[in-house]
């Protein structure tokens, strides 16, 4: 089935999916924190767009609430908080050079392929658009993890964590036309609390190690000295 | 009747034991070109010792004084088990050859304890060495005896001797091994050259004498007698197990007489061999004794294996 045979909604979803995937790639390769946060906000915005689109085309009003929540949380609140933190710590000028950047990017690309490979068995039972959406969201999840693995700044970790949430959210909306309302609300609540907690933790970490580099958080280990 | 004969035979054993010792000394003196004491000298020594007032260390406990009686009784009991002139003894049934070895162990146990009782270095040394040697000798001896008992399929000495007797002359490789093993053990256990020298009091060499150094009077007499008895016991064992011919199988007085003569002859011969050996061989260093005894043990084992593999295999 080719894309021209699908309806406009599907086309739009697939385009956004591609963009969201792209955003993940951009984040992965980003070495400046402020730009990272900006791309993250952009991804959140794309997600909001998807949600409202879905709400509109599927006539599912409760998705509007989700869209609003996403907008507030992921496009405004969290990026704002992170940005404030970065400015406060005065690390926005720091460039964290990624080791093996090419390698990571290539790894990210192969993750995308891998996502398709993994979800391939599903293709027999479902529309390819679903598969594509699911594969993209899986790769967003995986790329988010890769982001966390490759970046040392706590801020980047939060961004990675949240982008994993984005991927999940995208999957929920596209593949399953949104979760039940109560679940959505619950998830949103959790994200909110998590965001608040991240804020608290930045404070604590900063006061304890005077930095946000997670590699310095390694007192608790089992390695024989 | 049986019981009476058995008791009489035991008494005979006890009475004849000093004579054998006297004869051995006699032969040895002649071989070494010395003037020999009378054959009855051991009896005189025993009588004299038993009439003397014993002097005992003030450190000694009751065990020191009791031990000689126990040692003598145990050895005497062992003697009643061994057929001397006649087979088919009821005493042999009440205590078989393993029990006999047990009696020896019993006597040795108390002898060694008595050696430790006073608390002198000599006594401890003697006990230590005695237990070392005997603990190596005892398995060798059991091995040799087991060869015999497995051939006869009884551990009853009377039965075993009767079995050999009835079988007639059969050349068994196992018996050759067992015989040599038993001779080696006998020499070690009775404290003869080359393991121990009964006639020296040199601390580097003595074993048996070291333990009984503190004994005197009747206690010494008992212990000496017991060791003469032990010598004779081993002699009789060797003579009657491997060369049982001549021993009486009935309670007929004539047969008994022949039996007595036969055993006296066999013992006399054995004593001569022993005297020759003692004259020719030098005493070994203490730590060579283990090699000697392991050789005996090996012989015993070979005897048993050759019995099992060569003679009784199916």
């Amino acid at each position: 089935m080719n894309i021209e045979q699908t309806d406009f909604y599907t086309q739009a979803i697939l385009s956004i999916a591609a963009l969201i995937g792209l955003m993940s790639f951009l984040m992965l390769g980003q070495s400046r924190l402020l730009r990272l946060i900006f791309v993250f906000a952009l991804q959140g915005f794309l997600l909001t767009l998807t949600t409202s689109l879905a709400a509109h085309s599927l006539h599912n009003p409760h998705l509007y609430i989700s869209a609003a929540l996403t907008l507030i949380l992921k496009v405004i609140f969290i990026p704002w908080m992170l940005r404030r933190e970065v400015l406060h710590m005065n690390i926005h000028r720091d460039v964290q050079t990624l080791k093996n950047k090419t390698f990571i990017m290539l790894g990210g690309a192969s993750l995308m392929v891998f996502s398709y490979y993994v979800l391939h068995p599903i293709v027999q039972t479902t529309a390819p658009v679903m598969l594509n959406a699911l594969a993209v969201s899986l790769s967003v999840v995986l790329l988010g993890m890769l982001l966390m693995i490759s970046h040392r700044q706590a801020v980047a970790h939060v961004v990675g964590f949240m982008s994993i949430e984005n991927g999940l959210f995208f999957a929920a909306i596209v593949a399953t036309k949104g979760m039940p309302m109560v679940v959505e609300l619950g998830i949103a609540f959790d994200v909110l609390v998590a965001a608040v907690l991240f804020g608290i933790f930045f404070l604590h970490i900063r006061s304890s190690i005077d930095s946000l580099d997670v590699d310095l958080l390694n007192r608790l280990n089992e390695i024989e000295k | 009747m049986n019981w009476l004969i058995a008791i009489l035979q035991g008494a005979l054993f006890i009475i004849l034991a000093p004579l054998l010792a006297g004869w051995l000394k006699y032969c040895k003196c002649h071989l070494q070109n010395r003037k020999a004491p009378s054959l009855l000298q051991p009896y005189r020594d025993l009588i004299k010792l038993s009439n003397k007032q014993p002097v005992v260390s003030d450190q000694a406990s009751w065990l020191f004084i009791t031990a000689p009686y126990l040692i003598f009784s145990a050895t005497a009991l062992a003697a009643t088990v061994v057929p001397l002139v006649v087979v088919d003894l009821p005493t042999s049934a009440s205590a078989d050859v393993i029990v006999m070895v047990g009696f020896f162990a019993f006597a040795r146990f108390f002898l060694a304890l008595a050696g430790l009782d006073i608390g002198t270095a000599f006594g401890g040394m003697g006990s230590s060495r005695e237990m070392t040697i005997s603990s190596l000798a005892e398995p060798a001896m059991l091995m040799a005896i087991f060869t015999l008992t497995m051939t006869a399929s009884t551990t009853n000495l009377s039965g075993a001797i009767a079995h050999v007797l009835n079988e007639g002359l059969v050349l068994r490789p196992s018996f050759v091994f067992a015989l040599f093993a038993l001779i080696l053990v006998a020499v070690a256990e009775t404290g003869r050259i080359p393991v121990d020298n009964p006639s020296t009091h040199l601390e580097l060499t003595m074993i048996h004498e070291a333990m009984i150094l503190e004994y005197s009077g009747r206690y010494l007499a008992l212990i000496e007698w017991a060791s003469q008895l032990k010598l004779m016991l081993y002699g009789v064992l060797i003579a009657n197990i491997f060369f049982p011919w001549g021993i009486s199988e009935t309670l007929n007085p004539k047969d008994l007489g022949y039996g007595l003569l036969a055993i006296l002859g066999k013992l006399a011969l054995l004593a001569i061999f022993l005297a020759i050996a003692e004259t020719l061989v030098a005493k070994m260093r203490l730590f060579r004794v283990q090699e000697y005894l392991s050789f005996a043990y090996l012989l015993g084992l070979l005897g048993m294996l050759s019995h099992i593999i060569l003679e009784a295999s199916r």
């Binding site: 993994v118 391939h120 993890m145 693995i149 997670v214 | 260390s57 003030d58 146990f109 150094l213 730590f287």
Partner: protein, 708 residues
């Protein structure tokens, strides 16, 4: 009724444990008794006075100790009664207790084999309970609380009894572990010494490993049957391979508890550090429970015995017996020595059990019954004399505050009764005639001598070698215990403590050992009493008993046939008495020859000192030379020099340490391997969160890849 007394024995031991717990609740008891006398039993001044007196602060601990041990003694007594009753009536009693798993209540089975071991435990516990009150009095309450000692003693005894009653794998394991754990606490009782803690840890670790092996052995059987009851396990039909696996596991498990070489190392560590009456129970009784387990597993649960297993047992038994006694000989610590000697005796029992298996597997059940007789009899005897010796060691420790036999000496004059009892123990364990140890060894030899009936050449040559090793073991044991008795009781005191020592005041402390010593002698003279009992056990277990072909069986011991071998201890005793009597009266006839006491001859050098006596290490020096490869000998001689050119020797320091080969060759490598592995595993936890995320990521990818 029989079962009732068996249960009563278990319950009484529990009760004694629980009673010990209230040692700190005196006030509670006081108020309770006040209340009950005021409200419930009015106007009974005499009982009230009695109770109040016992509840007074100075009387209460002693009273409670008495009460706890009385309960324990009753438990032992009932165990003896139950054991005797079931053995004499030759019954099998089964029952169920609604405990355990919902679909598997505790199955109880009390048959002759259990009964026989009940007898062993009962006698041991009874003797200990006579002995205990006097012994534990020396413990200070704040350092070594009686509550824990009494509680765990009770649990320990109950555990042992329950093992014997168990008729399903689950209850068996619970009882088994109860026994292990309770005894662990007893080993760790005096935990202020690091060595004791180490010993306790080692003990518990090995007990755990052994228990796991046993569980697995049961598991093998259970996977071929439907259920964990012994009845179901008996029905399981296993291939030879699987049953051999089960056998090896059971051997590992039970052998570890029994202390077979080379898995014996906990035994010489743990037994010496426990209080002596506990060491007596552990060494004398608990090891027998392990033997019971092995017999039950191999002869009862595994339906077909293989002769190869017998060979394994013979080899292990021989090695243990020899190694045990040789190591025992080198120990200067009395209780360690006794513990190693237990290894030796267990080795002998295993060896004879191996013979039994061989005869059983090759179709000679009657000879197998003879072997089982010898094994069980030796187990019984070992329980008696090892208990006796440990209790004796306890008395010595109590009176001299020493366990090092190089520090004792001359105690025969200070402690005449103890010395006599100890002598009986030494004679029994050295298997001298007229004592019980000899009878079982005699039976063992008789079993080994039946090798002629076998067709297999390997067996025919192996068994005689084992018999020879048995002879060597017995002779070495005699040497070892000559050393023990001689150095402890004879000679001159080697230390201040042993010079000041005196006989125990508490006669009950002597009563326990005296009971055991009396039994040692009695059984040595009338072995048929026990043989009659064991015959019933082997009849139930193997379906075959010894031929009862001699009417005068109380007088004669003729296990195979009167023609082949016979032994009559009563006659021997009579003859010995006559012989000793004659020579005594003959030599004492002359009144002029009374003994004169004089100083010991000192070669004219003047003054023999106790330090000139032979010590433990000098006594065993010839053995050390002869068998030097058996130990790791660490001998150090250090000379202090003085004088102008530092040429004169002023003092010589001599140090001797004897180590076990199994440590550097078996245990240290295992411990090292575990530590190394743990260190390697520790590396995965780097402390870096990105690594951790990497793990998660990798796991996810791998699993996804695996699944698709």
């Amino acid at each position: 009724m029989i079962l009732f007394s068996a249960y009563l024995a278990v319950l009484l031991s529990f009760a004694s444990g629980l009673l010990a717990l209230i040692v700190n609740q005196r006030h509670l008891l006081q108020s309770l008794s006040d209340y009950s006398f005021n409200k419930l039993f009015k106007n009974q001044p005499q009982p009230q006075a009695w109770v109040n007196m016992n509840l007074e602060i100075q009387h209460f601990p002693a009273f409670l100790r008495q009460a706890v041990f009385i309960l324990l003694g009753l438990s032992g007594l009932f165990a003896v009664i139950a054991g005797l009753a079931v053995l004499i009536s030759n019954q099998v009693i089964t029952d169920q207790i609604p405990l355990g798993l919902p679909w598997l209540p505790w199955h109880i089975r009390f048959d002759c084999l259990s009964g026989f071991f009940f007898l062993i435990i009962g006698i041991g516990v009874f003797a200990v309970s006579l002995y205990g009150p006097g012994y534990v009095r020396s413990y200070k309450e704040n350092q070594h609380p009686f509550a824990s000692l009494g509680l765990f003693t009770g649990l320990f005894v109950a555990g042992m009894l329950l093992v014997l009653l168990a008729d399903d794998a689950f209850m068996f394991m619970i009882a088994w572990e109860l026994m292990s754990v309770a005894s662990y606490f007893l080993v760790a009782f005096q935990h202020e010494h690091a060595a004791n803690r180490r010993a306790a840890f080692l003990y518990l670790l090995m007990a755990e490993v052994g228990a796991l092996a046993i569980i697995l052995a049961f598991g093998v059987l259970a996977s071929f049957s439907d259920g964990f009851t012994f009845d179901a396990l008996r029905e399981s039909r296993l291939s030879v391979t699987w049953s051999s696996i089960a056998f090896v596991l059971a051997l590992l498990g039970f052998g570890m508890k029994a202390g077979i070489a080379p898995i014996h190392v906990w035994l010489p560590e743990a037994h010496p550090v426990a209080p002596s009456h506990i060491s007596a129970l552990m060494s004398g009784v608990m090891l027998k429970v392990a033997i019971y387990g092995l017999i039950r597993f191999c002869f009862d649960l595994l339906s077909e015995v293989q002769w190869q297993w017998g060979v394994v047992l013979i080899i292990l038994g021989t090695v243990s017996a020899l190694a045990g006694i040789l190591y025992a000989m080198m120990q200067p610590n009395l209780k360690r020595l006794l513990a190693y000697s237990s290894v030796e005796n267990i080795g002998i029992i295993f060896m004879v059990l191996g013979l039994t298996m061989i005869f059983m597997a090759t179709g000679h059940p009657q000879l197998a019954a003879l072997g089982l007789l010898a094994a069980l009899f030796h187990a019984f005897n070992h329980a008696l004399f090892k208990n006796l010796l440990f209790l004796g060691a306890g008395i010595l420790q109590h009176q001299t505050h020493e366990l090092n036999i190089d520090m004792m000496g001359g105690l025969i004059k200070k402690m005449p009764q103890t010395s006599l009892l100890f002598l009986v123990g030494c004679m029994s364990i050295s298997s001298l005639p007229l004592f019980n140890g000899f009878v079982s060894e005699w039976l063992a030899f008789q079993t080994a001598l039946q090798v002629d009936v076998l067709d297999n050449g390997v067996l025919r040559s192996l068994i005689p070698v084992a018999a020879a090793a048995l002879a060597l073991t017995a002779a070495l044991a005699a040497a070892c215990f000559v050393k023990v008795f001689g150095l402890i009781f004879l000679g001159q005191p080697r230390s201040h403590h042993s010079e000041k020592a005196h006989e125990v005041q508490n006669k009950f402390m002597l009563a326990g050992p005296a009971l055991l010593a009396g039994l040692c002698f009695f059984i040595g003279i009338f072995p048929s009493t026990i043989i009659y009992l064991i015959n019933n056990a082997s009849g139930q277990l193997l379906g075959q008993t010894l031929p009862n072909n001699n009417l005068l069986s109380w007088l004669w011991l003729a296990p195979v046939s009167a023609h082949q071998a016979s032994y009559s201890p009563p006659l021997v005793l009579i003859a010995a008495l006559i012989a000793a009597g004659i020579c005594y009266s003959y030599f004492r006839r002359n009144p002029l020859t009374t003994v004169r006491r004089a100083e010991t001859w000192d070669c004219g050098f003047g003054g023999l000192t106790p330090r000139m006596q032979y010590t433990s290490s000098s006594f065993t020096m010839p053995f050390r030379r002869i068998f030097e490869k058996v130990w790791i000998i660490d001998e150090q001689i250090h000379k202090d020099m003085k004088g102008a050119m530092n040429q004169d020797v002023s003092a010589v320091h001599y140090q001797l340490h004897i180590h076990d080969h199994s440590w550097p060759h078996i245990y240290s490598p295992i411990a090292q391997a575990v530590n190394d592995l743990a260190r390697q595993v520790g590396r995965i936890q780097t402390g870096n969160i990105r690594t951790y995320l990497g793990y998660s990521f990798a796991t996810l990818l791998i699993l996804l890849w695996l699944i698709s």
